[in-house]
Amino acid sequence: MPQTSDVMSGLGPVPNVRPTLRQRLVRGIGPAGAAYVFLFPWLAGFLVLTLGPALYSLYLSFTDYDLIGAPRWTGLDNYTRIATNDPKFAASVRVTLTFVLLSVPLKLAFALGIAVMLNRGLKGLTLYRAIFYLPSLLGTSVAIAILWRQLFSGDGLVNGILGQFGIDGPSWISTPDTALYTLVILAIWQFGSPMIIFLAGLRQIPGDIYEAAEMDGASKVRQFWRITLPLLTPVIFFNAVVQTIEAFKAFTPAFIISGGTGGPIDATLFYTLYLYQEAFGYFRMGYASALAWILLVIIAFFTAFSFLTARYWVHYDD
């Protein structure tokens, strides 16, 4: 904030008052220098723990590295193999895209529906909000993944209920055709954090717009489509971007439910799980690094695509 520093430099030395650390710093090294000093704790962490390893992994992606020996430069070999001769890469991209394209829209729709319901000035709103948020806190944990395994296995709760209606279900999590969908359901069930954000967004919509619509005889459904949804598009946009990135990065549920194999028959071989297998199962750190950079590009592509299309459907009217 430029005003602040102007004000401070305008104050000059004040007798009998010790200048604060910030004032002394600004005087000594200028506002930009002072900013860096205060940024340092975060910046150091970013450089040492994020940027450094990220660049190193970029280097590793051009090598053959098994963790025990030294990395050996192989040029574009890893990338060539991924592009031309890796059926598991193709399989994992297919699984991951299916997961993202199904779970993100369904989760957002579910979150929005619950948020609209909760926004009607219910009694005990905070309690309901907390209850609905709970799965999101637990969702990525190992315990829930294990619970899911129990629910959808051959003699699990789901088949117990289906059995009441005379339906004899398979073991859903270990049948190739259904395994991925149990993970989609798990993702949808964790609708808590987009719901909270939707709820905050709904609160921002001025009530008089609805009153005016009411006067004009618009039905509730029409109000939702013509008022709520358009005014909520910035929030929907935010949630969609964040949830898409999250979905691409999903790992724990597939890892636990398939026992780390991505099975049955690669049905739950998420991209991150394949990456993990290559890195820590078969010790191909170079290859795994190349896979990680490709994932970064894929996510960047989807995010850029969202931002480019945003101007056609996201309305910022203030």
């Binding site: 963790l67 398979p170 073991s171 026992g259 049955p264 820590f280 199962g281 078969y282």
Partner: protein, 428 residues
Amino acid sequence: MSYTKPDRRALLAGTAALTLSSLVAPTIAAAQEDANLRLFWWGSTPRAERTYAVADQYMAENPNVTIEGETVGWADYWTRLATQVAGRNAPDVIQMDYRYIFEYARRGALADLSEYRNDALPLEGFEEASLQGGMVDDGLYGVSLGANSSATMIDADAFEAAGLEVPTGAMTYDAMADAVMQVVEATDYEYGMHDASGHEPQLENWLRQRGTPLYTDDGELGFTVEDATEWFEMWADLRERGVTVPPDQQALYQRSIETSAVTLGQAPVSFAHSNQLTGYRELNDSTITMIPLPLIEEGATGGHYRKPSQLFSVSSSAENPEAAAAFIDYFVTNPEAVEVLEVERGVPESTVAREELAPKLNEADQAQLEYIENLGDLAGPLPPPPPAGAGEVEALLIRVSEQVAFGQQTPAEGAEQLVSEAQSILSR
């Protein structure tokens, strides 16, 4: 670089001092030198308790040695170990698996223990054959902590309830299938046995009975598309007859005692490793007995082998490899250590240790010991260690066996895919 040439007198004095110290050093080293050893292994809680207890005993007898133990489960173990080795922070004593010892030894991560055989590592009671599992290129890079072999686990109570004699020796696959179907008819069990079409040890056993190795000495795939086709056809037939657990339930099996068909109550017969008998008995209420894996035909031999269930290796970066070797020797031969460890890591290799232990074992452990000693013709020589990439081939076998079991591929198509993909993995 600046470097002052030492004068003659200093050189002489230095040489004398060195010679003197090298004469005195060994005796001091053995008695006095402080050693700090880090010990890393995978396994369950009972194993951790036993291992810590032996480390404590050793420290009490050797006050100059301190041992720090670390343990995790199998799945996390190899990640951690590789990361520590890469970070130049390897533990001194490393629990090794036969599958990985070649990779680690050839990449220079392990110390050759041959030079300690005369003093710190006499390994009393070890026969040459017992050392073989730890040999890499004529060097000793690991010491076997116990022997095991594949085995069939049987719910003996169910066999009795069906009015059948509980099998005590190896049976053919056909005889086994007939027997378990009688058990299924007479009891609550829905299915007869594990679908082992994706179990690598079982495929290897079956191949060896036919005189074919899983991998050749050169690390190539030992079997052909025809072999694999017959293998998948045999299991497809058993599956159709309802002998095996159906594929959606078999896919839940995670190579653990907890998820096996017997423990889950799906079938009266599972396939496992002999040192897991103890665990099977603990997790099941019914009486579990153990026989060798099924035979391809009456009188078939050589499918089994005595495998080092785990080994102890010493890191090449260990500060005091001699102290590490001495601890390993204590761990596998000292009667007090063996009495604590029992057969939890497999049957001890040292004949002295085995004789010491035999009368003190409970019935299940006794059965394990006898199982290994009485394999006879059923056991053949130790196969060469699996090549790099074998772990990936094992995962491939699981995937292809599932494709066949779920009907996505015929046995012949699966066999074709298994062999061609495995060859591509091994040549990578």
